[in-house]
């Protein structure tokens, strides 16, 4: 059973991270990190602040260059690609940044059409149609002519999400999609992520501390600590583990979660 599973894993891996290391000067952030993500799967990357979760995501899309290792996206080693080929891969993936990273100087509409006008040849009507439809998905149709500075944190996240999925990517990378949001909004965003995965058949890697969010959107998770993948398993396996680090990590998250619930 296990063998059969791993063979299927090998065949359908959308992302394959192979012994990737990254250091900044003498500060080793990632040390031989490996991770496989199956087609259609949502996988969670847990880890304390500053353990290199964002660095890992950025290595996957080569915003940062790993020092060592290989990263395959749909069988192509992205680390050896030239910029043009790399951009072809980037056009097929979405990245939601921690702060949403909306372009300050552009309205919501301009933010959304930014990738569209550059890489696709849609007519104005088709483009408008697409913008309307992603805004509907994130339930923010009324924000179309607003500037990012007029949006709340949760709205920014949702527009950021809309901007990343407007090109209908097959692979989505989320950097702390619910951090800093109130529990209700964060639950909404989590459900939205799950829904998108189902309706657009996306594969996602989700970096988060938020246990509630993790439970909603995924079944498999890894825990990054001190540069290595320290644990791997289902969310239930990890949260019920007797491992002292995990117990500490999750009890902390649970307490935080409860505090947040009590505060509302």
């Amino acid at each position: 059973m296990a063998v059969a599973n791993s063979i299927i894993l090998l065949m359908n891996n959308v992302v394959e991270i192979n012994k990737v290391s990254k250091a900044f000067g003498s500060h080793v952030v990632l040390d031989n990190v490996s991770l496989n993500v199956e087609e259609g799967e949502n996988i969670i990357v847990f880890g304390q602040s500053g353990t290199g979760k964002s660095v890992l995501l950025k290595c996957i899309v080569r915003l940062l260059e790993p020092d060592k290792g290989d990263i395959f996206i749909e069988g192509t080693n992205v680390l050896t690609l030239r910029i043009k080929e790399l951009n072809d891969i980037r056009k097929n993936l979405g990245f939601l940044f921690q702060g949403a990273a909306l372009y300050d100087s552009m309205s919501v509409r301009e933010n959304l059409e930014f990738p569209l006008v550059r890489h696709f040849t849609f007519t104005d009507a088709e483009r408008e149609e697409k913008i309307k439809s992603v805004l509907e998905k994130v339930s923010l149709e009324e924000a179309i002519d607003k500037m990012p500075s007029e949006l709340s944190g949760g709205m920014k996240k949702r527009i950021g999400l809309a901007r990343s999925i407007i090109t209908e990517p097959k692979l989505m990378l989320y950097d702390e999609p619910t951090t800093g949001l109130d529990p209700i909004t964060s639950k909404e965003i989590s459900s939205l992520i799950l829904e998108l995965q189902k309706s657009l058949k996306m594969t996602s890697i989700v970096v988060t501390h938020d246990l509630l969010c993790a439970e909603i959107i995924a079944d498999r998770a890894i825990v990054l600590n001190e540069g290595i993948v320290q644990h791997e398993g289902t969310i239930t396996e990890l949260t019920t583990s007797r491992d002292p680090f995990l117990r500490n990590f999750f009890s902390h998250e649970i307490v935080e979660e409860q505090n947040r619930r009590n505060n509302v």
């Binding site: 950025k58 899309v61 915003l63 951009n87 072809d88 980037r90 056009k91 993936l93 990245f95 940044f97 921690q98 702060g99 990273a101 909306l102 372009y103 300050d104 100087s105 930014f114 990738p115 550059r118 890489h119 090109t167």
Partner: protein, 268 residues
């Protein structure tokens, strides 16, 4: 004992700052090479260049107008008694005109432009960097260097000469008013005297060097912003150091270009 210790730290910090300075110069050089490498590769983002030029023009027009007028007025008022003392009052419009065209208008406009624009660009790109907007652009397969840097450097390089020509004329108006205060003269006569004494060899290098100054303002501002780190603190630092570095470089290049222009356009 205590004394020697503080000395060591002090020397260290000067060393650190010197190293930092040379690292910055090297980085700026690299950045500028990157610019030259990418500037002729499409897409050209013409709309963006036009938009930035409009914005920069509108942003700086009021302050350079006021400055230009005052420079013209003050330099004329200052020079008038001197010229009278030497019995050369008739040369006043010519002397003023030449100083405005060759030096005052280009350099002062550039310095004001640096203060207003390179800090603005540094802060804008810096905040885009630390809030990951530049990363977002790169991930969406758009080259942020072309979209953000090249367009802005183009805009500053081409708008500053236009502003300078405008400032020259505003300064002439200021100068004319100062002349009116001491003697009666028509504007047409005044301009005629200025134009007849200002030669091609004065005007061309004066305006040409502002292309270099405009480039400096753009490249330093974008470099500081594009490479900003350390959150909001880094954004502030990018804005302020952009002004200091670009102003200093404008003055240094002005010094170098005096030599070059005198060699290219000998005026004596």
């Amino acid at each position: 004992m205590k004394n020697s210790k503080t000395k060591v730290i002090k020397r260290n910090s000067i060393e650190n700052r010197l190293t930092e300075f040379f690292i910055m110069i090297a980085g700026l050089w690299q950045f500028q090479l990157q610019f030259l490498k990418q500037v002729f590769v499409p897409p050209y983002e013409i709309d963006q260049i036009r938009k930035h030029m409009d914005e920069l023009g509108i942003k700086t027009l009021p302050i350079v107008s006021v400055t230009g007028f005052i420079i013209g007025l003050v330099i004329t008022m200052q020079m008038h008694p001197v010229m009278v003392r030497f019995g050369a009052e008739a040369f006043l419009p010519g002397a003023v005109g030449i100083s405005i065209v060759r030096e005052l208008a280009p350099v002062i406009t550039a310095l004001i432009f640096a203060g207003r624009v390179s800090s603005g660009i540094g802060a804008e790109l810096g905040s885009m960097r630390v809030t990951e907007q530049i990363d977002a652009m790169e991930v969406s397969a758009v080259n942020p260097f072309k979209y953000l840097v090249i367009t802005r450097v183009f805009a500053t390089t081409f708008i500053l000469p236009i502003l300078t020509v405008y400032v020259i004329f505003i300064a002439f108006v200021g100068s004319f008013i100062a002349v009116l205060l001491v003697q009666n003269m028509s504007y047409a006569y005044f301009i005629d005297k200025v134009v007849s004494s200002v030669e091609f060899g004065d005007a061309i290098p004066g305006v040409l060097k502002t292309f270099v100054f405009g480039f400096i303002v753009g490249i330093v501002g974008t470099y500081k912003g594009y490479t900003a780190t350390n959150g909001t603190e880094g954004v502030g630092k990018a804005a302020t150091t952009a002004v200091v570095v670009s102003s200093l470089m404008i003055l240094i290049f002005d010094m170098v270009l005096v030599k070059v222009t005198l060699w290219l356009w000998p005026t004596v």
